[in-house]
Symmetry: C2
Subunit: 191 residues, 2 copies
DNA sequence: CGCAAGTGAGACATCTTTGTCTCACTTTGG
DNA sequence: CCAAAGTGAGACAAAGATGTCTCACTTGCG
Protein backbone atom coordinates (compact mmCIF):
# COMPACT_ATOMS: atom_id res chain seq x y z
CA UNK A 1 0.00 0.00 0.00
CA UNK A 2 2.09 2.87 -1.21
CA UNK A 3 -1.08 4.90 -1.45
CA UNK A 4 -0.95 6.10 2.13
CA UNK A 5 2.67 7.15 1.90
CA UNK A 6 1.92 8.89 -1.35
CA UNK A 7 -0.86 11.04 0.00
CA UNK A 8 1.15 11.73 3.12
CA UNK A 9 4.15 12.95 1.20
CA UNK A 10 1.94 15.00 -1.03
CA UNK A 11 0.33 16.65 1.96
CA UNK A 12 3.71 17.63 3.31
CA UNK A 13 4.90 19.05 0.03
CA UNK A 14 1.63 20.81 -0.47
CA UNK A 15 1.92 22.47 2.89
CA UNK A 16 5.46 23.64 2.20
CA UNK A 17 4.39 25.08 -1.14
CA UNK A 18 1.46 26.76 0.56
CA UNK A 19 3.70 28.38 3.19
CA UNK A 20 6.06 29.62 0.54
CA UNK A 21 3.18 30.99 -1.53
CA UNK A 22 1.84 32.74 1.54
CA UNK A 23 5.22 34.33 2.19
CA UNK A 24 5.45 35.60 -1.38
CA UNK A 25 1.86 36.77 -1.82
CA UNK A 26 2.13 38.55 1.51
CA UNK A 27 4.77 40.80 -0.01
CA UNK A 28 3.46 40.89 -3.58
CA UNK A 29 -0.22 40.08 -3.74
CA UNK A 30 -0.25 40.08 -7.57
CA UNK A 31 2.50 37.51 -7.98
CA UNK A 32 2.09 35.18 -10.96
CA UNK A 33 1.67 31.43 -10.73
CA UNK A 34 5.12 31.27 -12.29
CA UNK A 35 6.56 33.49 -9.57
CA UNK A 36 4.83 31.46 -6.88
CA UNK A 37 6.27 28.29 -8.37
CA UNK A 38 9.79 29.71 -8.59
CA UNK A 39 9.56 31.00 -5.03
CA UNK A 40 8.61 27.51 -3.89
CA UNK A 41 11.48 26.03 -5.84
CA UNK A 42 9.23 23.96 -8.07
CA UNK A 43 8.05 24.21 -11.65
CA UNK A 44 4.78 25.70 -12.73
CA UNK A 45 3.64 22.24 -13.81
CA UNK A 46 4.16 20.81 -10.34
CA UNK A 47 2.49 23.78 -8.73
CA UNK A 48 -0.46 23.07 -10.96
CA UNK A 49 -0.46 19.45 -9.82
CA UNK A 50 -0.93 20.64 -6.25
CA UNK A 51 -3.45 23.40 -6.92
CA UNK A 52 -5.79 23.24 -9.87
CA UNK A 53 -5.39 26.96 -10.54
CA UNK A 54 -4.85 30.33 -9.01
CA UNK A 55 -8.30 30.35 -7.48
CA UNK A 56 -7.64 27.02 -5.84
CA UNK A 57 -4.35 28.33 -4.49
CA UNK A 58 -5.96 31.42 -3.01
CA UNK A 59 -8.76 29.35 -1.56
CA UNK A 60 -6.20 27.02 0.00
CA UNK A 61 -4.41 30.04 1.46
CA UNK A 62 -7.71 31.25 2.83
CA UNK A 63 -8.29 27.88 4.46
CA UNK A 64 -4.80 28.06 5.92
CA UNK A 65 -5.39 31.56 7.23
CA UNK A 66 -8.69 30.54 8.78
CA UNK A 67 -7.05 27.53 10.40
CA UNK A 68 -4.28 29.71 11.84
CA UNK A 69 -6.84 32.19 13.12
CA UNK A 70 -8.89 29.48 14.76
CA UNK A 71 -5.73 28.03 16.31
CA UNK A 72 -4.76 31.48 17.60
CA UNK A 73 -8.24 31.99 19.01
CA UNK A 74 -7.95 28.66 20.81
CA UNK A 75 -4.45 29.37 22.07
CA UNK A 76 -5.50 32.76 23.42
CA UNK A 77 -8.25 31.23 25.58
CA UNK A 78 -10.56 34.16 24.93
CA UNK A 79 -12.91 33.24 27.77
CA UNK A 80 -10.26 33.26 30.49
CA UNK A 81 -9.47 36.22 32.69
CA UNK A 82 -9.77 39.89 31.80
CA UNK A 83 -10.78 40.56 28.20
CA UNK A 84 -7.84 42.94 27.78
CA UNK A 85 -5.37 40.20 28.57
CA UNK A 86 -7.19 37.87 26.22
CA UNK A 87 -6.77 40.44 23.46
CA UNK A 88 -3.08 40.59 24.26
CA UNK A 89 -2.74 36.82 24.07
CA UNK A 90 -4.70 36.79 20.85
CA UNK A 91 -2.56 39.37 19.07
CA UNK A 92 0.58 37.58 20.23
CA UNK A 93 -0.78 34.32 18.86
CA UNK A 94 -1.80 36.03 15.62
CA UNK A 95 1.53 37.74 15.07
CA UNK A 96 3.12 34.99 12.93
CA UNK A 97 0.07 35.06 10.66
CA UNK A 98 0.02 38.84 10.33
CA UNK A 99 1.29 38.97 6.77
CA UNK A 100 -1.01 36.22 5.56
CA UNK A 101 -3.99 37.87 7.21
CA UNK A 102 -3.13 41.19 5.60
CA UNK A 103 -3.12 39.49 2.22
CA UNK A 104 -6.42 37.72 2.82
CA UNK A 105 -8.09 40.79 4.33
CA UNK A 106 -7.33 42.94 1.30
CA UNK A 107 -8.02 40.05 -1.06
CA UNK A 108 -11.42 39.49 0.52
CA UNK A 109 -12.31 43.10 -0.20
CA UNK A 110 -12.41 42.17 -3.90
CA UNK A 111 -15.18 39.64 -3.40
CA UNK A 112 -17.67 42.40 -2.82
CA UNK A 113 -20.75 40.58 -3.96
CA UNK A 114 -19.90 36.95 -3.31
CA UNK A 115 -20.60 35.37 0.01
CA UNK A 116 -17.48 35.12 2.09
CA UNK A 117 -16.11 31.91 3.44
CA UNK A 118 -18.13 30.57 6.32
CA UNK A 119 -14.92 30.29 8.32
CA UNK A 120 -14.47 34.05 8.55
CA UNK A 121 -17.98 34.47 9.87
CA UNK A 122 -17.19 32.05 12.66
CA UNK A 123 -13.96 33.87 13.50
CA UNK A 124 -15.72 37.23 13.45
CA UNK A 125 -18.25 35.79 15.80
CA UNK A 126 -15.67 34.72 18.36
CA UNK A 127 -13.82 38.02 18.06
CA UNK A 128 -16.98 40.05 18.48
CA UNK A 129 -17.89 37.85 21.42
CA UNK A 130 -14.60 38.69 23.10
CA UNK A 131 -15.17 42.42 22.82
CA UNK A 132 -18.73 42.03 23.95
CA UNK A 133 -17.55 40.13 27.00
CA UNK A 134 -15.14 42.96 27.77
CA UNK A 135 -17.97 45.44 27.57
CA UNK A 136 -20.31 43.41 29.73
CA UNK A 137 -17.65 43.01 32.40
CA UNK A 138 -17.21 46.78 32.43
CA UNK A 139 -13.64 46.52 31.16
CA UNK A 140 -14.25 48.02 27.73
CA UNK A 141 -16.18 51.14 26.83
CA UNK A 142 -19.60 50.59 25.36
CA UNK A 143 -19.73 53.50 22.93
CA UNK A 144 -17.64 51.56 20.38
CA UNK A 145 -19.46 48.56 18.96
CA UNK A 146 -17.86 45.13 19.22
CA UNK A 147 -18.11 44.85 15.44
CA UNK A 148 -16.05 47.99 15.01
CA UNK A 149 -13.49 46.87 17.57
CA UNK A 150 -13.07 43.60 15.68
CA UNK A 151 -12.78 45.47 12.40
CA UNK A 152 -10.25 47.84 13.92
CA UNK A 153 -8.19 44.91 15.12
CA UNK A 154 -8.03 43.61 11.56
CA UNK A 155 -6.98 47.03 10.31
CA UNK A 156 -4.27 47.40 12.90
CA UNK A 157 -2.97 43.91 12.12
CA UNK A 158 -2.70 44.88 8.45
CA UNK A 159 -1.04 48.20 9.20
CA UNK A 160 1.31 46.55 11.62
CA UNK A 161 2.27 43.75 9.26
CA UNK A 162 2.95 46.18 6.41
CA UNK A 163 4.82 48.65 8.58
CA UNK A 164 7.05 45.86 9.82
CA UNK A 165 7.63 44.39 6.36
CA UNK A 166 8.52 47.86 5.05
CA UNK A 167 10.88 48.43 7.95
CA UNK A 168 8.98 51.44 9.26
CA UNK A 169 8.61 49.85 12.67
CA UNK A 170 10.56 47.11 14.43
CA UNK A 171 9.14 43.61 14.23
CA UNK A 172 9.66 43.04 17.95
CA UNK A 173 7.21 45.85 18.72
CA UNK A 174 4.39 44.37 16.62
CA UNK A 175 2.26 42.92 19.40
CA UNK A 176 2.91 45.70 21.90
CA UNK A 177 2.05 48.49 19.48
CA UNK A 178 -1.17 46.91 18.30
CA UNK A 179 -2.44 45.85 21.72
CA UNK A 180 -1.53 49.12 23.42
CA UNK A 181 -3.13 51.23 20.73
CA UNK A 182 -6.22 49.07 20.45
CA UNK A 183 -6.82 48.92 24.20
CA UNK A 184 -5.32 52.14 25.50
CA UNK A 185 -5.27 54.53 22.57
CA UNK A 186 -2.77 57.27 21.87
CA UNK A 187 -3.89 59.59 24.66
CA UNK A 188 -1.88 59.51 27.84
CA UNK A 189 -3.75 57.90 30.68
CA UNK A 190 -3.66 61.00 32.83
CA UNK A 191 -4.28 63.53 30.09
CA UNK B 1 -9.11 81.39 -28.94
CA UNK B 2 -11.12 78.30 -28.34
CA UNK B 3 -8.06 76.69 -26.88
CA UNK B 4 -8.67 78.07 -23.41
CA UNK B 5 -12.26 76.96 -23.32
CA UNK B 6 -11.21 73.61 -24.67
CA UNK B 7 -8.72 72.94 -21.93
CA UNK B 8 -11.14 74.25 -19.36
CA UNK B 9 -13.93 71.92 -20.43
CA UNK B 10 -11.51 69.06 -20.62
CA UNK B 11 -10.34 69.74 -17.09
CA UNK B 12 -13.90 69.61 -15.81
CA UNK B 13 -14.70 66.42 -17.65
CA UNK B 14 -11.46 64.92 -16.57
CA UNK B 15 -12.19 65.67 -12.96
CA UNK B 16 -15.65 64.15 -13.15
CA UNK B 17 -14.25 61.02 -14.75
CA UNK B 18 -11.60 60.88 -12.06
CA UNK B 19 -14.16 61.12 -9.26
CA UNK B 20 -16.25 58.40 -10.83
CA UNK B 21 -13.20 56.20 -11.28
CA UNK B 22 -12.28 56.77 -7.65
CA UNK B 23 -15.77 55.77 -6.54
CA UNK B 24 -15.63 52.56 -8.58
CA UNK B 25 -12.06 51.53 -7.78
CA UNK B 26 -12.77 52.16 -4.12
CA UNK B 27 -15.31 49.36 -4.24
CA UNK B 28 -13.58 47.13 -6.79
CA UNK B 29 -9.88 47.82 -7.01
CA UNK B 30 -9.42 45.45 -9.95
CA UNK B 31 -11.99 47.07 -12.22
CA UNK B 32 -10.95 47.14 -15.88
CA UNK B 33 -10.64 50.26 -18.02
CA UNK B 34 -13.89 49.23 -19.66
CA UNK B 35 -15.71 49.09 -16.34
CA UNK B 36 -14.24 52.42 -15.31
CA UNK B 37 -15.40 53.94 -18.59
CA UNK B 38 -18.91 52.51 -18.26
CA UNK B 39 -19.13 53.71 -14.67
CA UNK B 40 -18.19 57.19 -15.85
CA UNK B 41 -20.77 57.00 -18.59
CA UNK B 42 -18.23 57.38 -21.38
CA UNK B 43 -16.66 55.02 -23.88
CA UNK B 44 -13.33 53.36 -23.41
CA UNK B 45 -11.95 55.44 -26.28
CA UNK B 46 -12.81 58.67 -24.53
CA UNK B 47 -11.41 57.40 -21.28
CA UNK B 48 -8.18 56.78 -23.13
CA UNK B 49 -8.25 60.33 -24.45
CA UNK B 50 -8.24 61.59 -20.88
CA UNK B 51 -5.77 59.11 -19.41
CA UNK B 52 -3.10 57.51 -21.55
CA UNK B 53 -3.55 54.17 -19.82
CA UNK B 54 -4.36 52.43 -16.60
CA UNK B 55 -1.10 53.51 -15.02
CA UNK B 56 -1.83 57.12 -15.88
CA UNK B 57 -5.31 56.79 -14.37
CA UNK B 58 -3.98 55.34 -11.14
CA UNK B 59 -1.28 58.00 -10.98
CA UNK B 60 -3.92 60.68 -11.47
CA UNK B 61 -5.97 59.11 -8.69
CA UNK B 62 -2.89 59.14 -6.51
CA UNK B 63 -2.38 62.82 -7.25
CA UNK B 64 -6.02 63.44 -6.39
CA UNK B 65 -5.71 61.52 -3.15
CA UNK B 66 -2.58 63.42 -2.21
CA UNK B 67 -4.28 66.72 -2.96
CA UNK B 68 -7.28 65.78 -0.83
CA UNK B 69 -4.99 64.74 1.99
CA UNK B 70 -3.04 67.98 1.82
CA UNK B 71 -6.28 69.91 1.79
CA UNK B 72 -7.54 67.97 4.80
CA UNK B 73 -4.26 68.59 6.60
CA UNK B 74 -4.62 72.30 5.92
CA UNK B 75 -8.28 72.38 6.93
CA UNK B 76 -7.54 70.59 10.18
CA UNK B 77 -4.95 73.23 11.26
CA UNK B 78 -2.71 70.62 12.82
CA UNK B 79 -0.67 73.19 14.74
CA UNK B 80 -3.62 74.74 16.56
CA UNK B 81 -4.80 73.75 20.01
CA UNK B 82 -4.57 70.33 21.59
CA UNK B 83 -3.18 67.61 19.34
CA UNK B 84 -6.12 65.37 20.15
CA UNK B 85 -8.56 67.91 18.78
CA UNK B 86 -6.38 68.36 15.73
CA UNK B 87 -6.58 64.61 15.12
CA UNK B 88 -10.35 64.85 15.40
CA UNK B 89 -10.51 67.70 12.89
CA UNK B 90 -8.19 65.79 10.58
CA UNK B 91 -10.21 62.58 10.54
CA UNK B 92 -13.37 64.58 9.97
CA UNK B 93 -11.75 66.35 7.05
CA UNK B 94 -10.43 63.05 5.72
CA UNK B 95 -13.74 61.22 5.94
CA UNK B 96 -14.95 61.99 2.40
CA UNK B 97 -11.66 60.67 1.05
CA UNK B 98 -11.72 57.50 3.12
CA UNK B 99 -12.55 55.15 0.29
CA UNK B 100 -10.03 56.66 -2.08
CA UNK B 101 -7.33 56.49 0.56
CA UNK B 102 -8.13 52.86 1.25
CA UNK B 103 -7.68 52.11 -2.45
CA UNK B 104 -4.41 54.02 -2.67
CA UNK B 105 -3.06 52.61 0.58
CA UNK B 106 -3.53 49.01 -0.52
CA UNK B 107 -2.45 49.84 -4.08
CA UNK B 108 0.76 51.39 -2.80
CA UNK B 109 1.57 48.15 -1.04
CA UNK B 110 2.12 46.61 -4.48
CA UNK B 111 4.89 49.05 -5.34
CA UNK B 112 7.17 47.36 -2.87
CA UNK B 113 10.44 48.16 -4.54
CA UNK B 114 9.69 51.38 -6.37
CA UNK B 115 10.08 54.73 -4.72
CA UNK B 116 6.74 56.07 -3.57
CA UNK B 117 5.35 59.39 -4.64
CA UNK B 118 7.08 62.30 -3.00
CA UNK B 119 3.68 63.61 -1.98
CA UNK B 120 3.04 60.78 0.44
CA UNK B 121 6.36 61.40 2.14
CA UNK B 122 5.35 64.99 2.76
CA UNK B 123 1.97 63.93 4.15
CA UNK B 124 3.59 61.33 6.38
CA UNK B 125 5.89 64.04 7.62
CA UNK B 126 3.07 66.33 8.65
CA UNK B 127 1.14 63.49 10.23
CA UNK B 128 4.14 62.27 12.18
CA UNK B 129 4.79 65.87 13.22
CA UNK B 130 1.29 66.10 14.66
CA UNK B 131 1.75 63.01 16.80
CA UNK B 132 5.19 64.17 17.86
CA UNK B 133 3.72 67.48 18.94
CA UNK B 134 1.13 65.65 20.99
CA UNK B 135 3.85 63.68 22.69
CA UNK B 136 6.00 66.72 23.42
CA UNK B 137 3.05 68.54 24.91
CA UNK B 138 2.47 65.59 27.22
CA UNK B 139 -0.91 64.88 25.65
CA UNK B 140 0.04 61.59 23.97
CA UNK B 141 1.91 58.68 25.44
CA UNK B 142 5.51 58.34 24.34
CA UNK B 143 5.81 54.56 24.25
CA UNK B 144 4.10 54.43 20.85
CA UNK B 145 6.21 55.98 18.09
CA UNK B 146 4.70 58.77 15.98
CA UNK B 147 5.42 56.68 12.89
CA UNK B 148 3.31 53.84 14.25
CA UNK B 149 0.52 56.21 15.26
CA UNK B 150 0.45 57.59 11.73
CA UNK B 151 0.46 54.10 10.30
CA UNK B 152 -2.32 53.06 12.65
CA UNK B 153 -4.39 56.02 11.53
CA UNK B 154 -4.08 54.83 7.94
CA UNK B 155 -5.10 51.33 8.96
CA UNK B 156 -8.12 52.53 10.90
CA UNK B 157 -9.17 54.73 7.98
CA UNK B 158 -9.05 51.71 5.69
CA UNK B 159 -10.92 49.48 8.12
CA UNK B 160 -13.46 52.19 8.72
CA UNK B 161 -14.03 52.89 5.04
CA UNK B 162 -14.47 49.20 4.23
CA UNK B 163 -16.67 48.53 7.22
CA UNK B 164 -18.93 51.40 6.22
CA UNK B 165 -19.05 50.39 2.55
CA UNK B 166 -19.89 46.82 3.57
CA UNK B 167 -22.59 48.06 5.90
CA UNK B 168 -21.00 46.57 9.00
CA UNK B 169 -20.98 49.94 10.71
CA UNK B 170 -23.01 53.12 10.18
CA UNK B 171 -21.45 55.81 8.03
CA UNK B 172 -22.34 58.52 10.50
CA UNK B 173 -20.11 56.89 13.12
CA UNK B 174 -17.02 56.86 10.90
CA UNK B 175 -15.17 59.80 12.42
CA UNK B 176 -16.22 59.14 15.99
CA UNK B 177 -15.19 55.50 15.93
CA UNK B 178 -11.81 56.13 14.42
CA UNK B 179 -10.91 59.10 16.58
CA UNK B 180 -12.13 57.56 19.80
CA UNK B 181 -10.33 54.30 19.20
CA UNK B 182 -7.13 55.95 18.01
CA UNK B 183 -6.97 58.39 20.91
CA UNK B 184 -8.73 56.59 23.73
CA UNK B 185 -8.55 52.90 22.90
CA UNK B 186 -11.07 50.24 23.75
CA UNK B 187 -10.37 50.18 27.46
CA UNK B 188 -12.72 52.10 29.67
CA UNK B 189 -11.15 55.22 31.11
CA UNK B 190 -11.60 54.10 34.69
CA UNK B 191 -10.74 50.46 34.19
C1' DC C 1 18.50 -3.72 -13.40
C1' DG C 2 13.92 -2.09 -14.72
C1' DC C 3 9.71 0.00 -13.88
C1' DA C 4 6.59 3.26 -12.07
C1' DA C 5 5.90 7.75 -10.21
C1' DG C 6 7.07 12.49 -9.93
C1' DT C 7 9.23 16.37 -11.81
C1' DG C 8 11.01 20.12 -14.91
C1' DA C 9 11.07 22.37 -19.14
C1' DG C 10 8.72 23.96 -22.59
C1' DA C 11 5.27 24.17 -26.40
C1' DC C 12 0.63 25.43 -27.22
C1' DA C 13 -4.02 27.37 -27.40
C1' DT C 14 -7.02 30.39 -24.82
C1' DC C 15 -8.62 34.27 -22.34
C1' DT C 16 -8.48 38.82 -20.61
C1' DT C 17 -6.90 43.29 -20.68
C1' DT C 18 -4.76 46.72 -22.86
C1' DG C 19 -3.50 50.17 -26.29
C1' DT C 20 -4.27 51.87 -30.99
C1' DC C 21 -6.82 52.83 -34.81
C1' DT C 22 -10.75 53.78 -37.98
C1' DC C 23 -15.22 55.37 -39.10
C1' DA C 24 -19.66 57.20 -38.58
C1' DC C 25 -22.44 60.20 -35.73
C1' DT C 26 -23.38 64.25 -32.88
C1' DT C 27 -22.47 68.66 -31.17
C1' DT C 28 -20.68 73.25 -31.29
C1' DG C 29 -19.40 77.63 -33.07
C1' DG C 30 -18.68 80.73 -36.94
C1' DC D 1 -25.47 75.78 -43.23
C1' DC D 2 -20.90 74.02 -42.72
C1' DA D 3 -16.75 72.77 -40.86
C1' DA D 4 -14.18 71.40 -36.92
C1' DA D 5 -13.94 68.96 -32.73
C1' DG D 6 -15.45 65.37 -29.68
C1' DT D 7 -17.53 61.06 -29.00
C1' DG D 8 -19.07 56.10 -29.29
C1' DA D 9 -18.73 51.70 -31.24
C1' DG D 10 -16.02 48.41 -32.71
C1' DA D 11 -12.07 46.09 -35.06
C1' DC D 12 -7.37 44.86 -34.35
C1' DA D 13 -2.90 43.32 -32.70
C1' DA D 14 0.06 42.88 -28.68
C1' DA D 15 1.04 41.45 -24.14
C1' DG D 16 0.42 38.82 -20.01
C1' DA D 17 -1.43 35.00 -17.39
C1' DT D 18 -3.56 30.80 -17.32
C1' DG D 19 -4.59 25.98 -18.12
C1' DT D 20 -3.27 21.81 -20.69
C1' DC D 21 -0.32 18.80 -22.75
C1' DT D 22 3.90 16.23 -24.13
C1' DC D 23 8.40 14.50 -23.43
C1' DA D 24 12.67 13.60 -21.38
C1' DC D 25 14.90 13.09 -17.00
C1' DT D 26 15.52 11.73 -12.24
C1' DT D 27 14.38 9.15 -8.20
C1' DG D 28 13.00 5.35 -5.45
C1' DC D 29 11.70 0.78 -4.83
C1' DG D 30 11.05 -4.07 -5.97
Amino acid sequence: MSHLRYSCLMALDRDQVLRSAAALLTRKSTATMDEVAKAAGISRATLHRHFAGRDALVRALETLGIAECEAALDTARLDDGPAGEAVHRLVRALEPSGGLLAFLYTENQLFEGEEQNQGWARIDERLVGLFRRGQESGEFRIDLTPVWLAEALYGLLVSGAWAVSDGRVAGKDFTYMIVELLLGGARRAGA
